[in-house]
Structures are given as C-alpha cells and as structure tokens.
Amino acid sequence: MSTRVAAALIGVVFGAVLSWSGMTSPEVIREGLLFGSAYLFLFSAAAVATAFTGLYILRRKAPPALLTGETVQWETDRPQRRHVAGSVLFGVGWGVSGACPGPIATQLGQGIAWGVPTAVGLVLGIILVRRLQARAPRAEHVQARRDRVGGFAHAGAPDRAAPSRA
C-alpha cells in the first residue's frame, strides 16, 4: 500500500470520528472551553494518552516503518517564542470560531456552508505566512540557523525526523 492511500484511510477514520464525536460543532468546543462539559477535555486526554503510549513503545523498539522501511524515530523541539506567539493567534481564532483545521475540513465534508469562510481564511493565513517568509529571507535564515541549533528541520514542519518537504 502506498503512503498516500494509507494516509487517506487514516484521514477517513479521523474525519468520521471528529464528526461523530461532535468536534465539528462549534457549540461542543465552546461548551468545553467554558467548562460547561468535561467531554472536550476527557476526549483530548484519552486521545493523547493512547497516542503517547503507542509512540512510547514505538520509540523504544524503533522498528522499520511498515510502508517506507525507514527507522521509526523523531526529534523534538525546545520551546521558542514562535510556539507561544503562534499559539496565541491560533487560540484567539479557535476561541471565537470554535473551529480548528480538523473540524474546518469535517464541516466542509458534512456540507456545512459555515465552514467555507473559515476554510478560505485558513488558506489565506497559510499564503500570508509564505509571503512573509519570501519577503524576509534574512529573517528566515536567522530562523533556519536557530532551527538547526534547536536540532530540527524547519519552521512549519518541526518534529519531523527528516525535512522531506522543502
């Protein structure tokens, strides 16, 4: 099986579960952030705990990846200013709209028109970052050097074992 097919299948499962669990609904997210329901926090904690356990075992065993054969391994980042600054911007958008990249995609998939303006904004946000990166090559070099010192690939795709995308 190709990695594309496998990733698409993982996406189907992810999208169906996000939809069924109500994460597509901004009201469910808002209810969680207002501490009106524990569902959002319990759901997130269960997801992280499961993933953490699985990855812990994978990291210890470091097997070859089933489809690509490369050794399963990764490096992690040290916290930098961009992780905080970016997450503040992200948190404002998330708090007001009750949507984030996954639920925006599942809203579109369910045929919910309210997902369109959020999705258009998301795409514009990515384009904006790319423009800023192109306009400030010097800043990018500084960032790239910092990233090398930090021991990971490049801004926008950290925590990856190898910078496979330019």
Binding site: W20, S21, F90, W94, G121, D159
Partner: protein, 155 residues
Amino acid sequence: MLHAQLPWWIGGPILGLCVVAMRWLMNERLGVMGAWSDVVDILAARRLSFGPFGWMLFGLVAGATAFALVAGGPDFHGYGWLTDTFSGTGGTLLVVAILLACGILIGLGATIAGGCTSGNGLSGNAMASPASLVATLTFFATGIAVTLVTEALIS
C-alpha cells in the same frame, strides 16, 4: 443512534491510534494543519501531485461526508453563539467576516507555531515534545480566556 455523541473513551483512543498508525506506517507526525499546508503549497506551485498529508486531508473530508450520509445529514443549525448573537442579513454577513478573520488567525498562528490542536496538541504531546506542550498550554489558555471574555460581553 449516530446523532448521539460518540463516547469520549471510544473517540479519543481511536484518534490516538491514528497518530500511532501514521508513525508506524510512514514515520510521520499526524497534523491537520500540515495537511492543509501540503495542499496549498502544491496548488500554489501549480501542481496536483499531493503527498500523504494532502491525501490525509481529502480522507478527512471524505470521512465527514460518509458520516453525514450515514447519519442522515449534518446536525447543524446556525453557527453557535455567533449566529445567536448576530441575526438577520447584516448579522450573517458579520458572522461570515468574523469566521474569515478567525480562519486567517488559525492558519497564520498554527503555521507559525508549527501545529494546531492535532499537530501540537495531540501528536506533539504524544511525542513528548516540550515545544508542543508549551504551544498546547498557550492555545488552551488563550481559547478559554477568549471564550470567557466573549461570553461575558454577550450576556
């Protein structure tokens, strides 16, 4: 039955297993923001050769469509507190403008922070990444603060 919310102790672990599957199959970090970026970057280069991340996004959309078909359409009326607060034609336009602005903040912020709720919040924390933990605490704290402030403003 499908309109009932999937219990958290079933839905959460399945998402966690998706992260494990992505790592075990192809040694990649599951992140939906990265999936959007893959599609946008490849389209911007006027190509259609999407990578695994782009295909994951298409799968995500297809999974949601399949769910809506099985469940008999989306269980969605208005857009939460935004359409409750701003009604009428002018209100709808305002909500569209607000959602567009939120989308820009989400795309900009998650790209700068190197991940969103899935990339940093789910996968990054599971990878024991200190940067992801800081990012997650930051966006949860910001999200909670913003929600509380908007709730206070409208009530």
